[in-house]
């Protein structure tokens, strides 16, 4: 549905996007992650034809995107990171959506606007001037605008940023609902804990380059190769860590916040071996829990490795 081949963009001496190739299938929720300045927004702008790439090609729905051609944007609904708040102060939510419906020639726009506002819980605010809208309401209205023409692709730039938990949940439900309808979603965000809840695949971009791209759990597994057990106990003997690291299946052991953290081979379940060993050392564990690894940890590992690699190259 969205394909880029060797996409590159340079601003002055800074390489914003470097030979980026993406292939997003129809019906996917693709999470596009990266630290600030990694090239996420530049990529989105190039996908929308708002910024011309220096080199590379973009295909939307199988067709190449030509510079200056904006007609393909009708296939896309966009929720930008920042929503202009000072504009058209006199406009109501309905008038605002009517404007974009007119621009997009949406058939039967009146009923579609009413239904979209209702779906986003903005029905009772339809005649309210948009300058009275809160950040969360404005974000929902932005979503309504992106959905008004029933696009096949949704490009969401930081869609949940700045929302309260209730708002985040609503937007997340909406994303999943659109996914269930077969839409392709391209989501750029730095809220990794949220992204991993709904993305089917993620790509991590760092300094303009795509570092890794896979299903969320596969990325976590590939970056963090071990399981971590958190063990709560009354008293941790001084030499326990030394003894633990001598065991063949243990990678690392450390104390954190009065708990013992043990990193083990992830291929097998070592809880029984670990309990037996602790019992042999004269301690009994109170609670043993497998710590879930998060996308955030994987992301931090990847970006830290990239930073280190870059520094090593410089030092060489």
């Amino acid at each position: 549905m969205i394909k880029t081949v060797g996409l590159s963009k340079k601003f002055g001496t800074q390489q914003a996007v470097d030979n980026l190739s993406l292939n997003i299938d129809p019906g996917e929720i693709y999470g596009f992650l990266g630290p600030n300045g990694a090239g996420k927004t530049t990529t989105i702008r190039m996908l929308l034809g708002l910024t011309n790439p220096d080199s590379g090609e973009i295909f939307i729905d199988g067709k190449p995107v030509n510079p200056g051609d904006s007609s393909y944007r009708a296939l896309i609904g966009v929720v930008p990171e920042k929503h202009p708040t000072g504009m058209w102060k006199w406009m109501t939510a309905t008038e605002y959506l009517q404007l974009f419906s007119d621009l997009l020639a949406v058939p039967d726009s009146h009923s579609r606007i009413a239904a979209t506002l209702e779906r986003l819980d903005l029905g009772e605010h339809r005649n309210k001037p948009i300058h009275q809208f809160s950040r969360g309401m404005m974000q929902k209205l932005s979503f309504a605008r992106a959905l008004i023409h029933d696009p096949q692709i949704l490009l969401l730039d930081e869609p949940i940023s700045g929302l309260d938990p209730f708002g985040i949940r609503q937007i997340r439900d909406l994303i999943l609902e659109q996914h269930a309808l077969g839409k392709t979603l391209f989501v750029s965000s730095h809220l990794l804990s949220e992204i991993e809840k709904f993305c089917t695949r993620i790509g991590i971009i760092y300094q303009g380059k795509l570092i890794t791209e896979d299903a969320t759990d596969k990325i976590i597994d590939s970056i963090i190769p071990s399981k971590i057990y958190r063990i709560e106990m009354d008293d941790i003997p001084e030499d326990l860590i030394k003894k633990l690291v001598q065991l063949p299946f243990i990678h690392e052991a450390k104390i954190e916040n009065s708990s013992l953290l043990v990193s083990v081979d992830k291929a097998e379940d070592h809880r029984k071996d670990l309990s037996n060993f602790l019992y042999g050392c004269g301690v009994s564990s109170l609670i043993m829990q497998e710590q879930t690894k998060t996308l955030e940890e994987a992301f931090l590992s990847i970006t830290t490795l990239q930073k280190l690699a870059k520094n090593e190259v410089r030092n060489d």
């Binding site: 011309n52 944007r73 202009p84 621009l103």
Partner: protein, 288 residues
């Protein structure tokens, strides 16, 4: 490429935005009152013994200054049909400036706030946006021109003054000049990245055209007229005021060649300036 639907929708939006703004009506009142000033001064000059400019200090000052700057013949021509010709320029110029400058400010504000980018998601493009602003400016000025004409017509009826063909001819020429001035305002708007810069550029363009045009009529110093005439050889081709004089000459001589030629020149010049503005904006857009 310009998208017709987007341009229509955005023109409607800009018009709504303008007509819902109280400052448009304030500008109408202020401009029409400014236009009424010379009429009132003229009326005060009419006494029981007939027309006597000395009876109204304001009228005497206006005509005196114009005579010193240009020539008594020109002033005579200007007031041949009464005060309405002079009042027309007095009433239209501030409104024209208000409409064009407010458009420049709106454009820069919308650009800074990301509104134009949002419209481009629409999908539209900034060319359609600029063209829609151009059309809105014309509509706002033409609506005001109708109002001013009706207002002056009412004043002429109440005071038994003549609102003759010279007024209609001048209005016609002015409205054509508005086309080019709107295009120059759009060029200034896209040529710089700030409201202040755009306004200064537009006022500078306007000042140069006016200075060169009026300089050629000046009788204060021979040198001024010579320099203005020399500059005019080049600048006149891109100046709306030059084509206004062609049309006026056409009306005076009843020459259709001058009138039709003048209209064509206005349309072509508007097209060229408009095209440069859109080309410049497209170039800027792609460079991003």
């Amino acid at each position: 490429m310009i998208d017709k639907r987007s341009t229509r929708v955005l023109t409607k939006l800009h018009c709504k935005e303008t007509f819902l703004n109280p400052s448009y009506y304030i500008a109408i009142v202020v401009s029409s009152l400014l236009g009424y000033l010379p009429i009132r001064a003229f009326l005060q000059s009419i006494g029981p013994q007939g027309f006597s400019p000395a009876d109204s200090p304001l009228f005497a000052n206006i005509t005196g200054a114009l005579e010193r700057l240009f020539s008594p013949v020109m002033v005579q021509k200007l007031f041949a049909e009464g005060p309405f010709l002079f009042a027309l320029f007095w009433a239209l110029t501030p409104m024209l400036l208000y409409v064009l400058i407010s458009s420049i400010i709106t454009f820069q504000q919308h650009k800074d706030q990301g509104v134009i980018e949002l419209i481009r998601f629409g999908p539209s493009n900034s060319r359609s946006y600029i063209l829609s602003l151009f059309l809105k400016d014309l509509i706002a000025i033409y609506i005001y021109s109708i109002y001013v004409t009706l207002f002056f017509l009412a004043v002429s009826r109440f005071n038994n003054l003549l609102l003759g063909p010279a007024f209609i001819q001048a209005l016609f020429a002015f409205l054509l000049a508005t086309l080019v001035l709107c295009a120059y305002a759009k060029l200034s708007m896209v040529a710089t990245d700030s409201s202040i810069g755009s306004i200064f550029l537009f006022l500078a363009i306007l000042a140069v055209f006016l200075a060169v045009q009026l300089g050629t009529y000046s009788i204060i110093l021979e040198q001024i007229r010579t320099i203005a005439s020399l500059l005019s050889l080049v600048i006149q081709w891109i100046s709306p005021f030059y084509y206004m004089t062609i049309i006026q000459t056409g009306f005076e001589l009843a020459s259709w060649l001058h009138i039709v030629g003048g209209i064509l020149c206005f349309v072509v010049l508007t097209g060229i300036v408009g095209f440069i503005s859109l080309w410049l904006e497209t170039r800027k857009e792609r460079r991003l």
